[in-house]
Symmetry: C2
Subunit: 439 residues, 2 copies
């Protein structure tokens, strides 16, 4: 009896760090199931690495390692190129070549997508190949797919996400146990949740990259290398968590996108990354530790929340393998390029941060002198900022500063910034005022 | 200048209640966008209704109404049949005919899918058509798609969902304001969240239907008309919410599925629908009102939560229209049937409820006589049930019953049921003991 050999789908892997290793493990562990789904076996025929001697997952056949990108990009028999090396270069060039060669593309590289995603998608569209990137945002949370497919018939009004697990872990530890930022960061590093250089995580750059990728899908916005107002969590102190708690809030680090155009698809988008006060009973307030979550508000759908592990080798690998399955099926069925054609991008302006309207939490560290409160409230009032609540914790003195915390009514960013700038220059102020937007 | 007319995708709608009306509105409101996505306009050419004179959404062209199913099922030019009439018959016969006629199918009918889903999927597979049913579970939450596609490379270990908005609304109101079940149900009916006959919602039948549909996707389990252990929320009293709160829990109504086979895909599944104590800081505990949520535990992915509006015309219509887009694209690109082929179903047994292991909350309403506690704890101890905490609220008397509440350590369902049966027959018991499983 003869057995039909199904045409194999050949995969080339660019990079083999934690995510790449996870991809190899998942493809191996679920080989029979995936073959049945795709209608052909998936075979990782080449793996590009820098150091062929480094230890790798045991499922990897070391004979398939290569240090030469041409062994993948120049091999016409390879159907799918999976980029899990990260960083801008040489990833960008590799993917451009792979697209030009007509290969199906899977990438988990949020930085590359944030800065060159529009270009890459346009060239993929022209060349008739798919470019899938579920692994780029939210680890194993299928948010890209949901924005692309499931909400196809709805218009997204806004989204807000906890998209950086390191920052969320640090804020969670600060809140739960009163740790300082520095102590929580050190703990995160010890547990492997934060890099030795944590800047991209705690200063918000990583979240801003992910926000651009989300906005691309949610609003069809081409935002290559857009300037996003980005604040990290370094300035948050334990006392801010305590005051937030007293007012009924939790401090979270959010990436926020809003379509202010009422769904016409034109006009500016509001895009920003910063710490925010989230009401305790809101779903995002209860996303703790390294978990990620994305809250989407559809015009017809209403609110929808997706949450799960935002990082780690296996969750992200689950997303990458789901993408490999998709692009492999499209390749086999002759519908390659359909998913990229469905993404229609148009440039959208980013609204100036000054125009954002929100309620604000502001904390002043002031010397307790007569008339200080009058001067603060006066400076706020002059710019039309009205105060909803005010708390002075204990009594300071003319030498020892005391915290005065206010919650404002809704006002314009430009107004609050103007007032804080003026107050910050006063002689009664011990250090620059701290401001946190209320979500 | 000549304009190319894209081939139209003709849609026949079976039923035009709230969901059907929402589908017509969304198709109209997003017509240009959907046409660009599909590559052809979507046109609802016929709408089957019982009463052609009833008022409908203004977007509906009344000339397209028909009371004759043949006008849709017998029209060879109709590409997609969308069933939003609900109920078993005549929906089942209509879909069987539509499949036989080679039409692409979209349905939001959970009852039909729970009882005949395996048969329908098998015939769709044989006929090479797609059968999409995102609208059947979780309204606008794209859980079906996530289970089917996004987690394609992972094995699901378990899932637990709040899938009935009516029950969740009632439990939320009981907990927040101490309402009785009856008062909360009445309020839900007044607000339109519950039907005049609320049995399918509050007795758990609707949740059991949805659980079967979820398990079909999550575990490839063919469970047509399976017997699912199902308890509703009628027996929950305000005092149970109060005790749950004291122990750190919230009472929720859950649909639970667990694969006890360690991912081999064989062996029995644990499937059950019942009220449960959920720890206050668990994500499901914070899903309130009419919201739905499904928590999925993937073996590689870890925990993932999806939440959103579980019902209502527009959220469910968003899911139905997303399905219409999918099956229309598949039809246009010649890949119809691919999505149904990807669903591989095999019969799975349902594990006996007696084998379930859990911690239990039990509340006894007893007359305060000497030796009562000893007899209760003795009956539990005889069957190996050990007590973790015990609370007696106030003092009763030999005439006025008092609540004695216990939290057990993990034990078998058969043991706790045996003990409760024995204790329930005692003369010191004022009414049958109340038991709630801890999730």
């Amino acid at each position: 009896m003869r057995r039909m050999i199904a045409l194999m789908i050949k995969v080339g892997l660019l990079g083999c760090g934690t995510v790449g290793g996870g991809v190899i493990q998942l493809l191996r562990a679920n080989a029979a199931y995936l073959e049945a789904r795709v209608g052909a076996p998936l075979d990782v025929v080449r793996v590009l690495v820098r150091d062929p001697d480094k230890e790798r997952v045991p499922e990897l056949d070391r004979a398939r390692l290569t240090t030469d990108p041409e062994a993948i990009l120049g091999d016409a028999s390879i159907d799918v190129v999976v980029e899990v090396m990260g960083g801008l270069d040489p990833a960008r060039g590799h993917l451009a070549r792979a697209i030009a060669a007509g290969k199906q593309i899977v990438t988990a590289n949020k930085m590359l997508l944030a800065i060159h995603g529009g270009d890459l998608l346009e060239s993929a569209k022209k060349r008739g190949v798919d470019l899938a990137f579920e692994g780029a945002v939210g680890g194993g949370i299928p948010v890209i797919r949901v924005l692309r497919d499931a909400l196809a018939s709805d218009r997204i009004a806004s989204l807000a996400g906890i998209v950086n697990g390191t920052s969320n872990y640090i804020l969670t530890r600060m809140r739960a146990d009163g740790l300082s930022f520095e102590a929580a960061l050190e703990e995160a590093q010890a547990k492997g949740y934060a890099e030795a250089d944590p800047g991209l995580d705690v200063d918000g750059g990583d979240a801003a990259h992910k926000l651009v990728v989300l906005a691309m899908l949610a609003f069809g916005a081409r935002l290559d290398d857009a300037k996003i107002s980005t604040e990290g969590i370094r300035g948050i102190e334990p006392v801010d968590h305590a005051f937030a708690d007293r007012f009924g809030y939790v401090v979270k680090h959010l990436a926020i996108a809003k379509d202010k155009s009422d769904g016409t698809g034109a006009g500016a988008l509001e895009l920003r990354v910063h710490p925010a006060l989230v009401a305790k009973d809101a779903p995002l307030a209860n996303i703790n530790g390294v978990l990620n979550a994305i809250a989407v508000e559809g015009r017809a759908l209403g609110p929808c929340l997706l949450s799960g592990r935002g990082a780690g080798d296996l969750p992200t690998a689950v997303s990458v393998v789901a993408d490999i399955v998709d692009v492999a099926i499209a390749k086999k069925s002759g519908t390659a390029g359909q998913s990229t054609r469905a993404i229609r991008l148009a440039p959208r302006a980013v609204a100036p941060m000054d125009d954002v309207e929100a309620r604000y939490y502001v904390r002043f560290s002031v010397y307790d002198r007569p008339g200080v409160l009058a001067r603060i409230t006066g400076a706020l009032g002059e710019r039309g900022v009205s105060i909803e609540q005010l708390v002075q914790q204990g009594r300071g003195s003319t030498d020892v500063p005391v915290d005065v915390v206010m919650m404002t009514h809704e006002t314009k960013e430009s107004a609050i910034q103007g007032a804080l700038g003026a107050i910050g220059k006063s002689d009664f102020v011990a250090k620059p005022p701290r401001m946190i937007r209320v979500h």
